[in-house]
Symmetry: C2
Subunit: 620 residues, 2 copies
Amino acid sequence: MDLEKIKNPEFLKKLNNEELISLASDIRKSIIEVVSTKGGHLSSNLGVVELTIALHTVFNAPKDKIIFDVGHQSYTHKILTGRYNEFKSSLRDFQGISGYQKMKESIYDCYEAGHSSTSISAACGFLKAQEINGENNDIIAVIGDSSITSGLALEGLNNLSSLKGKAIVVLNDNGMSISKPVGGVSKTLSRIRSSITYTSTKNKFRKVLSKIPFGSKIYVFLRYLKNSIRRLFIETTLFENFNLDYIGPIDGHNIKKMIKALKVAKNSHKSIVVHVITKKGFGYKPAEDDKYGKWHGVEEFDVSTGEFSSSKEKDLISWSEAISNIVYELMIKDSKIVTITPAMIEGSKLGRIFRDFPNRSIDVGISEEHAFTMAGSMYLGGCHPYISIYSTFLQRSYDELCHDVARMNIPIVVGIDRAGIVGKDGDTHQGIFDVAFLRSVPNTVIAMPKDYDDAKKLYEIAFEYNNMFFIRYPRGKIQIVSKRYNNDIYIGKWDIIECKSNSNLNIIVTGPIFDKVCEAFTNENIDANLIFARFYNPLDEKILQKICSNGGSIIIYDIYSTKEGLYDSICEYIVKNNYNPKVINLSLPTDFIQHGNLNEVLSSLSLDISSLINVVKGEI
Amino acid sequence: MDLEKIKNPEFLKKLNNEELISLASDIRKSIIEVVSTKGGHLSSNLGVVELTIALHTVFNAPKDKIIFDVGHQSYTHKILTGRYNEFKSSLRDFQGISGYQKMKESIYDCYEAGHSSTSISAACGFLKAQEINGENNDIIAVIGDSSITSGLALEGLNNLSSLKGKAIVVLNDNGMSISKPVGGVSKTLSRIRSSITYTSTKNKFRKVLSKIPFGSKIYVFLRYLKNSIRRLFIETTLFENFNLDYIGPIDGHNIKKMIKALKVAKNSHKSIVVHVITKKGFGYKPAEDDKYGKWHGVEEFDVSTGEFSSSKEKDLISWSEAISNIVYELMIKDSKIVTITPAMIEGSKLGRIFRDFPNRSIDVGISEEHAFTMAGSMYLGGCHPYISIYSTFLQRSYDELCHDVARMNIPIVVGIDRAGIVGKDGDTHQGIFDVAFLRSVPNTVIAMPKDYDDAKKLYEIAFEYNNMFFIRYPRGKIQIVSKRYNNDIYIGKWDIIECKSNSNLNIIVTGPIFDKVCEAFTNENIDANLIFARFYNPLDEKILQKICSNGGSIIIYDIYSTKEGLYDSICEYIVKNNYNPKVINLSLPTDFIQHGNLNEVLSSLSLDISSLINVVKGEI
């Protein structure tokens, strides 16, 4: 089928089963092709091609609201709602189409996310609004088996049955999640997957009973017994415990069966969970065989070989891998260190730690809150926890890191991955707010290294420190061998590189871009003091005093945090000490920053190195 | 029994059942007496007297770890661990004994909380630490039926069975929570409560079957059927779905039965939930009869009449009630407004709203995350949500208010109750961090009124505003009739009261203390400009410009937020505009502030009005 011609999903209702199957095949091919050239989420999108077709066949979007949890699996939805051309030409590009649902892109995107586990709560909100406004459209939340065990999703499930009217929760169960699923609920789901379905068991049981004298009477008796009979036939009553109806499991690659099940759900009067079994990466062998989530979110790759383009870059490893190696070495030396991740073993490259320290590494699943509270008491019990977490997901842990860790002066170490601009994932994933919300949490240290040696030293002092210690690092690559300006690092220490001519122009720079700034200043022969601000908190007051009293200007170049981070801290220092230098703020704006590659985004914010050079030249 | 003589809980193991019952009675009397004179949590503590005795009889604290969720029900625990004298003489007093568990108070307090639903995660952490350190003590989390449905607790439950070793979760089910319990899980628990227990049903069923031919054979057959037989006898498998064992329900006021059940749990090899049914307020009639949570946390009261001492203060109502009245009036006028609370109907005095607008008011339970995500989509669905939440609990919603509301420019209104120092609840409940973490969230307004008229006007403009609007108000009382300095309020507008002599000393004050500051300045005949900073964000740059350029000093007096709130915003303004006034910071310190009454706490921080006056006099 010519996907370009699709304007909206109306046409689906006229297709027969064979045509729907053929459409699924075309869409699947196109997803593989586009993702191989643009990068993006592959496995999750290949898993829900048939499910998305079935949804748009049974329901009437945009009147009915289809909410994709996270939204990273909405490529088929984008194609079916008339966005094939944009999808093909600009997926995840700067000012192009987003990798997630976006309301401004289409009226068929009724909601937006990026973080997981929001869809059930969102469905609750739409449902309540419908009740108040007297509407009666269908509301469908499509959520994965790992997302549904997050606290937020469970709160939503718990609330759902209290509301009037009905929402449909489609549990997209691929037994996979970002990496492998964890936890008790996951075990229950896995039991259901391997069991026979509700309907067929029921019939078999009825047959068995009919062969026993009085068997049918007992069947009636059992049925009478407060309806608990149903629990004999299906292995779980998880969702019934949340006072919700349940059908499934259903083969998520069989469009016909799914259409049937979704119609049952459509006719239900009570909120209902439709349990659909899909296979992540379905239709692309390397992704199907992936056990570790390597094909979850990918860079460009060669479709025929399954090789990633970026794997050709030599001498460079990702920051995630570099940090993971540092922690690995420390874990060898110190048997008290335990690594905790909320479902990011692959994302933060923790595989080697989990393989070699199985007892001292824990994947708690998508449970960012639990990760911190658990780490706190683990320290009290005699271990030294290290939490590895993305900056954007750390937002879910604010209360726990404050109330359950900092308040009790518990010295856990936290590695903040993906700090700063993340690039193509865009506004929902930018790691830019953490410094702003962390620096008012009492008794914490916040640092960001410029290179590998710096990071290594920071981790060493972090595990010796007597309070919570945050180390931020960005998305992107790092050279393992790097120059070292100063061997002597202690808490709060910045580095200052003074120019020969005693310049009184001072540039304060954070993070790994520092080396590039140095290089650019050398190339441009700029006469200024370059200061590397290794710590966001505490500040290096010795250096600040020096530059504040030399009568010149200060430029704060922090591309890894909003202005409420370092810039405001320095403003506070200046006012407190009654200095009066001219200060130019080149921090990230207090805003939600769109997707695109790092350089394009920085340049659009006038925060790339050439913008810095221009500002600097204006001050000389 | 002479409670003063108790040094530790060892003696319990030698008491017989009658002696334990008599001890419970003595402890109960003492709790009623002490709370009636000191204020504190009454109902929750009366509910767990027998349970706490049973716990300390069966387990060996401090080797075994007993974690009380929230910790507000630990009075019996405090008495049994040798703190009766301090409990009696100094409960919740400044520098006295805390109303919660505190590690520095006793080795029997192995953990601390204040916020709900942390205990299961804490148990997980202790369990993992024991595994790594090769220890094998019992770990017990005591958690209420409403706390267990919070996302954090459910994340902990989900993780628990993945860990080696065993923890015991004692579900203290009083069907009550802070107010009434909500949600699907709560309905399930309520069904169990009203049903007969597992053991007795099982026996009855066996009897019934034995009367039917081949009945016993069927019993065996059913048993064989993958153990699903158990599901016939108990109404729930909620905890089994989390892969945990379950026993109960057990009468939580029968010490003997509880000791028996806890011994079963102690011998279990798998993590297990012990479901205990208690009655909140047990033993004190007014608290037993309380359906709305009036007796949850109380001020001083008369034991014989059940009357609260504070109810005698006339012409004053609580800030919570005043704000609730304002919202009530707005809900009459605007049918789109929907009020949402996370379990604080009584705490935030929302009873009248819930009674008169049953369809437009939602208690989501202890689900602060869900509250915000749901509110966001409810707005997209055509309603105008208002969330009423305590400042300290707003911490749990940081990610959702940022990612699911602000990011999509959704204009919900949020009333932040208990902003600032909360008094006797202490460090876990201080509402002091919200301005610091909210002001870096893009597109938000943060305001705090000085009086009733101000609050009314702020709520009016909040519901007209096109983005998220936070209105903070403190714990404490308010006079309904108050002076009004300025009728014309718009976003960002502060008030300035200039002195006749054209003073260049400028005092910027936030919140309801402003009137008292005015009064004190008049009494002391102080010559200064008093500025009321109604908005934390945005600032009134017109007024700031005026006072920054008049060459004098600025004192920032903000007793409702840490310095990363208003003080840092003003520092940023000053540096950005290259002013150089002398600025004195009288904001709350970046610290966890201890319990005690408001004046004592402020005075200890040198932030009471006399301290301000002294600072001001030093500047004249």
